[in-house]
Symmetry: C2
Subunit: 221 residues, 2 copies
């Protein structure tokens, strides 16, 4: 029984890591598509999102079967319940990458992001891509210093998000309503992407340390 | 054992209904605060959000204990896992109501929504409030016709969301960047609120019918 459980649990962990790798690829390509008005790249992100959704469904079915057939308790149970939640979060991160790509596609052949905000969105792209890459690393290594770095990138995304509003509300802003809308929405997508990364980081910290307070305080690691 | 399980499961259902009632109150007050620039009402929504978060935590702990101590299978297991997911969704709906209230508070004493879009946001407010009220009804009665009505209100929210963009991109739009930002963000909050209502509706349909295809097709009920 135990061997089957361990093997099933390993598969759950592998699925989460695979989802995270796909999210990493999606957010990275979506940001490049956004910044360079690359229609083909944007379309590839949109088309590939179903693969993330599919792993989520398989992973969830596997977790429910695990609960029914293996009836885990204590730490094992916590791992399975956390996996259910992290898969939902990763699925949502994939959706946000798709939303960024949809904005890029919608404005093609123009760039969606007005020149005045390009620098800020390039930094958001970098930070979000790091969040995704670190999420994959965290899920595969459970190295808690990586969790702290995800929190730091999320702080950076929040600050950059504020910068986008400062740009839109500054006296020199003379963009169109469409440009204002796009900056507002894409900024929000990146900001949420960071939040979701932090949600996963805290769940992993909680799984490793068993301590919710510590999970909320990894910023200070 | 079975009696304890039934009693615990009833408590989980009661907690979900209570969360939904609080969400209903929050989104209703947030919309009124937004449309009438009512600072006190906006602040009450923001202050009350923690109560929703608190029920979510208790509910989740109860579900994990239920899984560990009662080791449910089949339908019982499906009910507990669905409750975990629905509580996360209701918590998020509470956050979105809080975000609407925060925009209202941020623009006080002005109204956040420019006059040209007020009519559309009054309709979004009505539709979102109906979604929340119907979610409470669905969770307490499991009447599937209510689920179909939630889908219809979500369709309406999507259409109204498109109307906001049409207004912002129309020739007659002469609002400030702040007004464009607020309409873009609040429109997005309402649109997501409807999506979450549909997510709960489909979970309940799935629990009642055991059929995912039916759950996705309740629009045609």
């Amino acid at each position: 029984m135990r061997e089957i459980f361990e093997s099933e649990l390993k598969q759950v962990g592998d699925d989460l890591a695979e989802m995270s790798r796909l999210v990493e690829s999606a957010i990275s390509r979506a940001g490049t598509a956004l910044l360079t008005a690359d229609l083909q790249l944007a379309q590839s992100v949109i088309a590939d999102d179903h693969a993330i959704d599919q792993i989520e469904r398989h992973l969830d079915e596997r977790c429910v079967l695990l609960l029914a057939q293996q009836q885990p308790v204590a730490t094992d149970l916590r791992v399975v319940v956390s996996a259910l939640r992290m898969s939902a979060t990763l699925e949502r991160m994939g959706d946000l990458a798709r939303h960024v790509a949809q904005v890029a596609r919608g404005r093609y052949p123009s760039k969606a992001i007005a020149p005045a905000a390009e620098h800020t969105f390039a930094a958001m792209h970098d930070a979000a891509t790091r969040v995704a890459r670190r999420t994959t690393t965290l899920l595969t290594t459970r190295d808690l210093t990586v969790a702290a770095n995800i929190e730091r990138d999320d702080d950076l995304l929040d600050a950059l998000h504020q910068d986008t509003f400062a740009a839109l509300l500054g006296e020199s802003w003379d963009g169109t309503a469409q440009e204002t809308i796009d900056i507002t929405l894409v900024g929000r997508y990146y900001e949420r992407f960071g939040d979701h990364g932090v949600s996963i980081a805290r769940r992993v910290v909680y799984l490793v340390t068993g301590d919710f307070a510590e999970a909320s305080a990894i910023r200070s690691v």
